[in-house]
Symmetry: C2
């Protein structure tokens, strides 16, 4: 067996929305694990909006990916060879293998998964980084109280679905936003949102605001921010006094500073006048709480009390197209790529 490692590189930096030519697939000899290292065959890799930021040269969540270097990201797979006492062939693990068929990392950088708890790919979604993002952001910065109203966009995605379900369980009115009537129906029927608006159905931020105002008759107490752009513009004037805005992303603005009907002074003024608390966060700074999250959410996801949706692209080579589609809202649930 002369297996090779296939991986996708950042071929060039995108200008605006990423295009196919920004990515390149390469094949290299399969690495042999050095001392303390573990070789893993990837089964699923994750596609997440944050990856868009790392394609740019500017400061973002983390260091930019160098042009010519492999695209970074989380993946789950099975150990093939191990030079680390903590891992044996056959173990299922999570690690930052990048967009690749295999990963070869120090054992310290891998997390062993309980294959019996839930399907493996959930470690990339509902029980992984996105679900954890929703749980941490909501509990630490959203501070939900029964009877309040929460709004979250990308309602069927892995962050929005987690936030919405947790808030609903905590006794809040939960209003989602999603792109398309099908996703809106899913948000209500599958995830129990009280209402979900199709942001594509409104020609302007003002029109969207009108619909939101109807769906949130008592205003908005928590806006869980993962999109920015027109949704933020629509939401902001509806925020109640002492409202909270956890900010985990702004996918609408990742392709460069689009024009916005919202000015910085107007945004700042609203924060002041309504006594808003806005907290940006990067979930990688908070993994000290991940054990608590898993303990609390693992059983609820396993039992079906907290639900999830997955979009699975087939084959590593489909990752760029799936990623580009996701940035345009083409996915419904958590976007993963099935590799092996």
């Amino acid at each position: 067996m002369t297996e090779t490692l296939r991986r996708i590189l950042l071929a060039s930096r995108p200008e605006g929305a990423p295009r196919a030519e920004n990515f390149r697939l390469e094949e290299v000899p399969l690495p042999q694990p050095g001392p303390g290292e573990v070789l893993v065959k990837a089964e699923f890799m994750s596609l997440d909006p944050y990856m868009r930021g790392r394609m740019d040269a500017g400061e973002s969540y983390a260091e930019p990916i160098a042009v010519g270097a492999p695209m970074q990201g989380g993946a789950v797979g099975e150990v093939l060879l191990s030079n680390h006492a903590g891992f044996a062939p056959g173990d299922k693990v999570l690690g930052m293998f990048g967009w690749a068929s295999h990963g070869c990392l120090p054992g310290e950088e891998l997390q062993k998964l309980d294959a019996g708890l839930a399907p493996l790919s959930l470690a990339l979604g509902a029980l992984g980084m996105p679900g954890f993002t929703g749980w941490h952001g909501l509990t630490a910065y959203g501070r939900p109280k029964a009877g309040e109203t929460l709004v979250v966009a990308a309602a069927t995605g892995p962050v929005g679905a987690m936030v919405g379900q947790l808030a609903k369980a905590a006794g809040l009115r939960v209003v989602g936003l999603a792109g398309g009537a099908d996703k809106c129906a899913l948000a209500v029927e599958t995830f129990g949102f009280d209402a979900c608006l199709d942001h594509r159905a409104y020609a302007s931020a003002q029109a969207l605001r009108g619909a939101l105002a109807e769906a949130c008759p008592e205003g908005i107490d928590i806006y869980f921010e993962n999109v920015g752009g027109r949704v933020l513009e629509a939401v902001l004037p509806l925020m109640n006094r002492f409202g909270r805005i956890p900010v985990c992303g702004m996918i609408a603005w990742y392709d460069g500073a689009a024009e916005s009907g919202l000015s910085a002074p107007a945004l700042w003024r609203r924060v002041l006048v309504k006594h808003l608390c806005v907290t940006g966060f990067i979930i990688s700074n908070h993994y000290d709480r991940y054990g608590t999250f898993l303990k609390e959410l693992g059983p609820r996801v396993a039992s079906g009390q907290i639900r999830y949706l997955e979009d699975v692209a087939e084959g590593l080579e489909t990752a760029p197209a799936a990623f580009m589609a996701m940035l345009k809202g083409g996915n419904t649930g958590k976007q993963v790529v099935k590799i092996a």
Copy 2:
């Protein structure tokens, strides 16, 4: 004695910076206190930036002042007549008398002052709303830690001076901004700031940022926001990860949404990427902590450990001019008007 009540009305709404014709002085018969009411002769009235917001028709901290109605604001004075058991002639009190020679209010809306604690006018400054704003914003939202760096503008004003001195006492590096070399010298010499930059000496936000970066070699952990505008634009890229921004005002933006080199997407992105916590607040929502503040700060102000500066305009009729000058940074310390 046929004393009259003199007061200043909002004659018209300003377009941009307020002008003399937006105000009108009128004289009316002195009111007689009704049941439970107290008639007070004003000694000092307060001029504060927040008053600018109330001159506009739009939503601000509170209801707009109606055109033709008296300008609102706090004042201190002496009780002349009392129909309330809690007050007797000669008592010194604080109340919202507006821009007026006398106030006639229910006793419940007055606060009796300890005339022996400190000069009466301090109830409008260091020991009043502005000092309380600085203390509450810093302790509740700034969460200072020794060794960190804090930046605050209007450094010699009653909010900035309180924030700077409290932060300095807590072991922070404190860098101020003020308009003019004289104020900067005062910030350092009188209030103990480590450095103070004259924002007028820099032609652009970029130039100001360069100077701030030198004055804050380890970045900025707390930006106590009371000005907005170019200072915010200069400060934002220097904020450290997990920085805090209490927002109590934005005087640079009160005269309408000026152009800003800062876009809403850029502002939002910085909040996310640097994990900033931005909290707007209106101090009137927090008077449950005022007793604690007075107990803690009263002795420190009385002993001279916490210092203050006052600008005193003479005569009610000078209030509009003093107010307009203050909005342009013409004052050095707390601006009050001596009425009687």
